[in-house]
């Protein structure tokens, strides 16, 4: 399955992915309207380690702890994609407690949110990938080591 | 005022035809003149001409110079120059027939000459090179004189007019040769000048050409490095020089010449067997500036035969046919039928595929 991967060698730490993500998931058509003077709630996050930066987003684990742990039964795997049903989520953040990548965070309403690969917004391909100025984030199929 | 040949590059469309007897049998000049009639519309009356091989058997050991003079005084001047370098065996007016279609003719002479041995020794070159240099010298330095034929046992006949009229004017029925080429011209950029008509020839090489090559200046500026001077700025001139350079100076075979001037595409070369590929790559690389692009169909004549060649995309029509020992080449099938209603084995050579017909050796 295609997933979002980061190559930290090329990550510039510009944080554009976060803004593109927040915009893509805002449901709005204008970035200024969507993001100006508001806190943003991206589903991809830039982390920094010394001089290295890299983006972290949901890995869509094959055996996801978040799905097993969700107290509301709000997280499920649909065609390989781990999805959160926002309407069921009560914001207990058990998923945050268990996610081994730190990829799940609360969204603007308190409900947990995470990367769902832009499959359900109008972006077409993940916005972080599309907008990355240095191809540091890619959307591709890889053989993952288990 | 339109500029004439030599002052500006002259592109033109044309008709060509040729016939050869492989056995070296005599063919009368009016036959080739006939061929040009059905192709009348391919010319516009601004030039026609012929080259005949084997037409001066008695004088076969001498270079036959056909020269246009625009004035008597020019002829005197030219003859003086010739005498410095040659023994003139015979000099005479070329016989012509007054016809209303051909007017404003210059003074047309022919000289049968032999280079002076002392001059050859002094310049340390062979007689062909000596003759070639003399021709270039006259044509570039002697205003009003123009050598339009300089081979042995062959001759060019050309004029401003439609080719069939030119044939009549030069009384071609009085000549017999084993091979003939003919040209009807449709230039678009000249008032029509006798010297600019075709065939173009140097020594026994003659070229008739239908087309307009796009590589002209690349070819010209290259070939001029080797002592040639493209005074006419016509395709035919530069093609003749290229062939002369490759054949006579670089000693390439006709087939090799064809694969220089109509070189196969690299993709074709790369698909050939190793040996062949090496050779073609070598020729194309070394003589890259002699590749000719743009449309052309040429018939190259020399004392040993004819070679017909199309550009590598075959952007001009050209067809060949046979009958007995005769081979016919023409822009149109009609021209061949006009020469030989029974002609057979019609064949349209592919782009870049040379058709080489050699006359039996020793016949002439």
């Amino acid at each position: 399955m295609k997933r979002v991967y980061v190559n930290e060698k090329w990550c510039l730490g510009c944080h554009l992915c976060e803004y593109n993500c927040a915009f893509a998931n805002s449901g709005m058509t204008d970035m200024v309207k969507a993001l100006k003077d508001k806190p943003i709630y991206p589903r991809v996050h830039i982390e920094q380690s010394d001089d290295i930066t890299y983006a972290v987003s949901c890995r869509h684990c094959k055996d996801p702890l978040c799905v097993k742990s969700c107290i509301a039964g709000a997280i499920s795997i649909v065609d390989g994609v781990v999805k959160i049903d926002k309407t069921k989520c009560v914001g207990c953040l058990t998923c945050v407690l268990v996610c081994p990548y730190g990829a799940v965070r609360p969204g603007p309403t308190g409900a947990a949110q995470k990367c769902e690969l832009c499959l359900e917004n109008s972006c077409g391909e993940p916005a972080c990938v599309k907008g990355c100025p240095n191809n540091a984030i890619v959307y591709e199929e890889r053989q993952e080591e288990k | 005022m339109l500029k004439r040949e030599g002052e500006i590059r002259i592109p033109s469309g044309c008709a060509i035809a040729a016939v050869i007897s492989k056995e070296g049998k005599g063919i009368r000049g009016d036959l080739i003149s006939e061929a040009m009639k059905p192709m009348h519309d391919r010319s516009n009356g601004l030039g026609g001409g012929f080259a005949g091989y084997g037409i001066y058997p008695e004088m076969r050991d001498f270079f036959a110079f056909h020269i246009f003079f625009d004035h008597r005084s020019t002829r005197k001047e030219c003859e003086a120059l010739l005498k410095e370098r040659f023994e003139i065996v015979k000099g005479e007016l070329i016989p012509t027939r007054k016809i209303p279609q051909i007017t404003d003719e210059p003074i047309i002479w022919r000289y049968f000459v032999a280079p002076l041995k002392s001059m050859l020794a002094a310049e340390q070159i062979d007689e062909n090179e000596f003759v070639a240099r003399t021709v270039v010298k006259i044509n570039t330095q002697l205003k009003g004189a123009y050598v339009f034929s300089s081979g042995k046992n062959m001759g060019c006949f050309k004029a401003v007019g439609f080719p069939e009229d030119v044939g009549e004017f030069y009384r071609l029925e009085e000549y017999e040769g084993y091979s003939w080429t003919a040209h009807g011209r449709y230039p678009t950029n000249t008032p029509g000048w006798w010297g600019g008509a075709h065939p173009f020839s140097l020594l026994d090489y003659s070229v008739v050409h239908n087309g307009e090559i796009s590589s002209y200046d690349a070819n010209r500026r290259y070939i001029e490095m080797f002592g040639y001077k493209c005074t006419l700025q016509t395709d035919t001139e530069v093609i003749t020089y290229i062939i002369d350079y490759l054949l006579r100076r670089q000693k390439l075979t006709l087939e090799e010449v064809a694969s220089v001037i109509a070189a196969p595409f690299w993709s074709t070369i790369n698909a050939k067997p190793e040996k062949e590929k090496e050779k073609l790559t070598y020729l194309r690389t070394v003589f890259s500036n002699l590749l000719i692009t743009g449309p052309f169909s040429i018939v190259f004549g020399w004392d040993g035969g004819l070679m017909a060649l199309n550009d590598r995309l075959k952007l001009r029509s050209m067809i060949t046919a046979e009958k007995d020992d005769k081979v016919f080449i023409a822009s149109e099938e009609a021209a061949i039928i006009a020469m030989e209603p029974e002609a057979e084995n019609f064949y349209a050579p592919s782009g870049g595929e040379p058709v080489i017909v050699r006359v039996k050796e020793g016949k002439f």
Binding site: G13, L16, Y19, A136 | R9, S214, A218, R221, M225, L313
Partner: protein, 501 residues
């Protein structure tokens, strides 16, 4: 500082209605122009630091930024231009030679723009490159004068060494050090994919790039940096750099601060030592010395590599070229005065040398007049900006062209002309790791390949229009060119007619 007397050259115009304070501009500006003010909650700019490289503009996700030339003007004076006055101020401030980067920006004539190309109409057909084969392959190198055969009559097909190019364009010399590792990687990978060559410049060849050797021209310049046996042997050809169009008669100087790590190793000089390329090669004070170096390099490479001599286009270039053509060199590269550089004294860059178009025309004709055009191939550079420039150069007589500025533009360069600052925001002319990584060679090489493929298409279109289906038939085909707005003398030197003639 009052003694600077110089108002910032650019203004950062930020549309606060569009700015979402994402701070991308701040993070991406190595010159530290932008900063976020937490008290005001807005982005602010320090325009004195702006070099107008447009990195922030390009990355601003809401297009809230533009950089404009400041309209703060000194009192108008036709003799004393703003630029001239400011240069006086700068020199009065610093007491130093003014430094600039990239090519000559002054409004001297660009002859490419005054030359027009022919097309076929009626009398011969244009050729559609989408339907018919259209060839752009060239071989650079000396061509034999005489065809030789074995006793059997078979052709001897051995030739002096050649460089085979899929199209008549190469990336010209830019050293590792003056540009980044990733820029070199992009050039090397693109050249390999394209079947053309790139040029190491005089910074040596990084060990990672030996695998691209067949598409690499290695340079031997006056500093001899990074030259050793393997270096010479790795390459497709060896180039002796005698001069550079942007700074004829001037050497190079890469400050010790940039001679670190791999660069020091690749140049084979100690870390921290200045890399100084002398103005002349101190073993070449005349043409016969050059001949010796040419043959030294040929000996060293077993006569298997073509040797290129690169010279700047200067006044007597035709005579110089003639000398080189008889020196044993296989290829002459001529660099015109609009060529780029990582750093050059401004006065030299803007006032020394001649336009490449005239140099090319003069050299090609001179070599033909002497009958030695076949001794060498001719490569020209110095602001070849488009496929049309390539076609014009080839028609004037070049075998191939060198492009560098266009290649850098493809890599992201915005021609801000401050390479010498070492803070290239596009990761090209810098060695700062955080900036170097901004140029991902995956993207860089793809963009170079795209650019060259686009040019190749355009070259084919232009050739097809002329009814030419192989590039060699364009070479020196000056009839395909016409001048506009040129004097009789200029036309004579270019060897072309005026439009309408």
């Amino acid at each position: 500082m009052i003694d600077q007397y110089i108002y910032p050259e650019f203004e950062v115009v930020r549309n606060q209605n569009r700015c979402i304070s994402c701070r991308v501009c701040e993070r991406q500006c190595a010159n530290e122009v932008h900063r976020y003010d937490t008290d005001l909650g807005v982005m602010l700019s320090d325009e004195t630091k702006c070099v107008n490289c447009q990195r922030c503009v390009s990355l601003c996700p809401t297009h809230a930024l533009k950089i404009v030339k400041s309209d703060c003007r000194l009192r108008e004076n036709a003799n004393w231009s703003d630029q001239t006055i400011k240069e006086v101020y700068k020199q009065a401030n610093s007491g130093g030679v003014l430094l600039s980067s990239m090519g000559n920006p002054t409004p001297l004539p660009v002859y490419w723009d005054k030359i027009l190309i022919n097309a076929s109409q009626v009398t011969n057909p244009p050729i559609d490159p989408l339907r018919e084969p259209m060839e752009t392959k060239v071989f650079l190198g000396k061509k034999p004068e005489k065809v030789l055969r074995r006793a059997s009559g078979e052709l001897i097909t051995q030739m002096p060494p050649q460089i085979e190019l899929s199209m008549p364009v190469m990336f010209s010399a830019m050293s590792y050090g003056s540009i980044s590792y990733n820029a070199h990687a992009s050039l090397a990978r693109a050249a390999t994919e394209l079947g053309i060559c790139y040029n190491t410049g005089e910074g040596g060849l990084h060990e990672d790039f030996y695998c691209y050797g067949e598409n690499t021209i290695v340079q031997v310049a006056s500093g001899r940096f990074g030259v050793h046996k393997n270096y010479l042997e790795a390459a497709a050809a060896v180039e002796i750099k005698m001069g550079q169009g942007a700074k004829p008669g001037i050497g190079g100087h890469l400050p010790g601060a940039k001679i670190v790590g791999d660069i020091s190793r690749t140049r084979m000089i100690p870390e921290g030592s200045d890399a100084i390329s002398p103005a002349p090669h101190h073993d070449i004070y005349s043409i016969e010395d050059l001949r010796q170096l040419v043959y030294s390099l040929k000996e060293a490479t077993d006569y298997k590599k073509p040797v290129i001599i690169k010279v700047a286009a200067v006044h007597n270039i035709a005579a110089i070229a003639s000398g080189i053509a008889r020196s044993g060199a296989d290829i002459i590269a001529i660099d015109g005065f609009r060529g780029g550089t990582g750093a050059a004294p401004t006065r030299i860059r803007d006032n020394v040398g001649i336009p490449i178009e005239l140099a090319l025309a003069a050299v090609d004709q001179r070599l033909r007049d002497e009958g030695i055009r076949n001794n060498v191939s001719l490569v020209v550079g110095g602001s070849v900006r488009s496929a049309a420039d390539v076609v014009k150069a080839v028609a004037l007589g070049a075998d191939a062209v060198y492009v560098a500025t266009a290649a850098l533009l493809a890599l992201g360069c915005h021609l801000c002309r401050t390479c010498h600052s070492g803070k290239c925001n596009w990761g090209i002319a810098t060695q700062r790791p955080d900036l170097v990584k901004r140029l991902n060679p995956d993207i860089g090489s793809r963009r170079l390949v795209n650019l060259m493929n686009a040019w190749r298409h355009e070259i084919k279109e232009l050739m097809g229009a002329m009814g030419i289906n192989s590039i060699e038939c364009l070479r020196g085909n000056r009839l395909m060119l016409r001048g506009v707005g040129l004097t009789a003398k200029e036309l004579e030197i270019l060897g072309i007619s005026h439009a309408g003639e």
